[in-house]
């Protein structure tokens, strides 16, 4: 059974239809890539699923429940977590605190009235934070101020925050954008490891074709908001329509 599915999802901005009747499914444990030219609606699609934007029409189902239009914190509590395109971190907090706050939300829900306990006493929160920092290899820097990290580390911290929410499904919008080849490589390895370790389902938007073909189980190709292909990497590679629309006829 699929973990995530959308049905005829539409998002309009004024007259512009950024996401146009998108229906697709993602299976549990799958790594799903979403590709398409700039402005194809990839980010908008993710935003409609994770609660940042309210879809104009259509539905989103996750784990058998209708989650169309829920608020972001609600989506996260249900197991969807999003890693941002730009490193969206808490710059003046320590690396550890950055992750702790997500772990806290995962452990204690979206709101708690009685929180007047010292943070040190939240053992489980610490355990998760450490595990995630370890996973992204930032444990040694845990006391550093987040703002002081180099860019690549900030992006990894961003991923650690997303993971500390203990998601079932992780959405990554261009996680390697702006990274050096070395950092890209490291990030891809990280994603692969995490997937194995945490049994994550991943939806990733990525421009780097090498990365895509290495990690994706299936690819969704968007063009001007519409799905033009939903297939395995091999099938997508051979699809003339995809080549035409997305790659301007260039061989993959």
């Amino acid at each position: 059974m699929s973990l995530l599915s959308t049905t005829s999802l539409v998002k309009q901005f004024g007259g512009l239809t950024a996401v146009d009747e998108v229906s697709f499914e993602v299976d549990r444990g799958e790594t799903r890539a979403v590709i398409g030219p700039n402005g194809a609606g990839k980010s908008t699609l993710i935003n409609c699923i994770t609660g940042m934007l309210e879809p104009t029409r259509g539905t989103v189902e996750f784990d058998g429940e209708d989650i169309t239009g829920v608020e972001p914190h609600d989506a996260v509590q249900r197991g969807l977590s999003k890693s941002f395109q730009t490193a969206s971190i808490f710059p003046e907090m320590s690396v550890e605190e950055n992750v702790e706050i997500a772990a806290l939300a995962a452990e204690h829900g979206s709101f708690q009235l009685n929180f007047l306990r010292k943070r040190e006493s939240f053992d489980e929160v610490h355990r998760i934070s450490e595990r995630m920092l370890d996973a992204v290899e930032l444990l040694d820097q845990r006391d550093h101020e987040a703002a002081s990290l180099p860019y690549g580390d900030k992006r990894r911290l961003e991923i650690a925050i997303a993971l500390a929410s203990e998601p079932e499904m992780l959405f990554m919008d261009e996680p390697t954008a702006g990274m050096s080849p070395g950092e890209t490589h490291a990030t891809v390895e990280l994603i692969e490891e995490l997937q194995d370790d945490l049994e994550l389902t991943i939806l990733i938007v990525e421009h780097d074709m090498e990365v895509i073909f290495r990690i994706a189980d299936r690819i969704l190709v968007l063009n001007r908001g519409r799905v033009i292909a939903d297939a395995t990497p091999e099938e997508v590679q051979g699809d003339p329509e995809v080549q035409e629309a997305y790659l301007g006829g260039v061989e993959l």
Binding site: H73, S110, L139, D143
Partner: protein, 394 residues
């Protein structure tokens, strides 16, 4: 940064991968890095504060020919506003929400406490109806009750809109107290029916705890307010070091991310608002006790809200006790410097706001982190201690 964990960034022994527990050195280090130390320091300074502000400065003033000493009630007044801004800072300094309406909570609490003493004798024993503790309880409760809806509406907007909404609510209450609500508040004549009884039925608040002249500023009222201030600071410290504190700080830095880690931003901002209103309420009730008279202009008016903002920024946002220093400077200038008479200019009098403005500009210019942050930076620079754990926070 706050973190009561280890010093930040510094040449920490490689304990990063494994927390070292138990060793005495390490324990000492951690205690020193904690904000708890700030609370202890605050308590100690309260013992000498009235003497320094009233007796010592008066003596110095006599020696140099200017009246720079505080009056007996001043230390109490400073701490009353200190309590307000400790809470205000949780909202402004941590959560990053600038409210221009906190006079509403201060004022409503003051009126609630005052009206309680006047009316509650009808159904409660006088000892209870006039009890200072009951006044603080009633006032704070009233502040919390109105903070809930005001916050609920205002929090929905951010930035300038939030500030203007809070300002509007504050002004609505001000005009209500001045006009239509006069049956309750006695309007522009002010409410003077504040009957403050003895503390715990025993101690007359106006009296000094001992007869000695060097203790003349140590009134029971000072003791009462000082205990309240310590409690307020302890509460704030507790909050800052709880998950709430972490979330408030996170909200101030990246609100969107907070919702995308799965936390309900609206409810936490609402809580920050209500909590800070509780502190303003406690201060308001103590103000009613201190003044035994409440007027809309000294309690509910928007200028009072603005004063809270000035005190907080002056002292240092985002630090636990910084705002109290802001309250001290503010009240000192408004009550003491205003009475100083200079050779050419003459009495400063109502020019005190001008002086305060100048002080504010200079401090914000020289110490962008406020007095507390500035002093801390200077101390760190002088002692050469590179680590600044607790720096922005302590």
């Amino acid at each position: 940064m706050s973190d009561d964990t280890e010093p930040d960034g510094g040449p920490v022994v490689d304990e990063a991968t494994e927390r070292v527990d138990g060793s005495t050195d390490d324990l000492l280090e951690r205690i020193l890095a904690r904000d708890d130390l700030v609370v202890v320091g605050f308590v100690l300074s309260l013992f000498v504060f009235p003497y320094l502000l009233v007796n010592l400065l008066t003596q110095i003033g006599e020696a140099i020919g200017f009246s720079i000493g505080g009056y007996v009630g001043l230390p109490t007044l400073v701490l009353i506003f200190g309590i307000v801004v400790i809470g205000f800072n949780l909202l402004l300094g941590y959560t990053g929400l600038l409210s221009f309406g906190h006079a509403a909570f201060f004022g409503v609490s003051a009126y609630a406490a005052g009206i309680f003493t006047a009316e509650a004798t009808a159904f409660l024993p006088t000892a209870v109806a006039h009890s200072p503790l009951a006044m603080v309880g009633v006032g704070t409760f009233a502040a919390l009750v109105i903070a809930w809806p005001i916050g609920f509406v205002s929090i929905r907007r951010s930035g300038v809109y939030f500030a203007v909404l809070t300002l509007t609510f504050g002004q609505m209450l001000y005009y209500y107290a001045l006009g239509p609500g006069a049956w309750l508040t006695n309007g522009d004549n002010g409410f003077s029916d504040v009957n403050v009884g003895h503390l715990l039925g025993t101690f007359e608040l106006e009296e000094a705890i001992l007869g000695a002249d060097f203790l003349r500023a140590y009134t029971w009222q000072y003791v009462f307010v000082a205990v309240a201030a310590v409690f307020a600071l302890w509460m704030a410290n507790r909050i800052i070091n709880s998950p709430y504190g972490l979330i408030f700080k996170a909200l101030g830095q990246n609100e969107q991310r907070v919702s995308f880690v799965g936390l309900d931003v609206f409810r936490y901002k609402h809580m920050a608002f209500i909590i800070s209103a509780g502190f303003a309420g406690a201060g308001g009730a103590l103000f009613a006790i201190h003044e035994t008279y409440i007027h809309p202009t000294t309690s509910l008016y928007w200028i009072t809200s603005g004063d809270f903002v000035i005190m907080t920024i002056l002292g240092g946002t985002g630090s636990l006790v910084g705002p109290v220093l802001g309250a001290l400077i503010f009240e000192y200038v408004s009550n003491v410097i205003s009475g100083v008479s200079l050779p050419v200019i003459g009495a400063i009098g109502s020019l005190w706001r001008f002086v305060l403005g100048a002080v504010f500009v200079v401090i914000v210019w020289v110490f962008p982190k406020g007095v507390y942050g500035g002093v801390r930076d200077v101390v760190v620079a002088l002692t050469g201690r590179g680590d600044d754990d607790g720096g922005e926070e302590a």
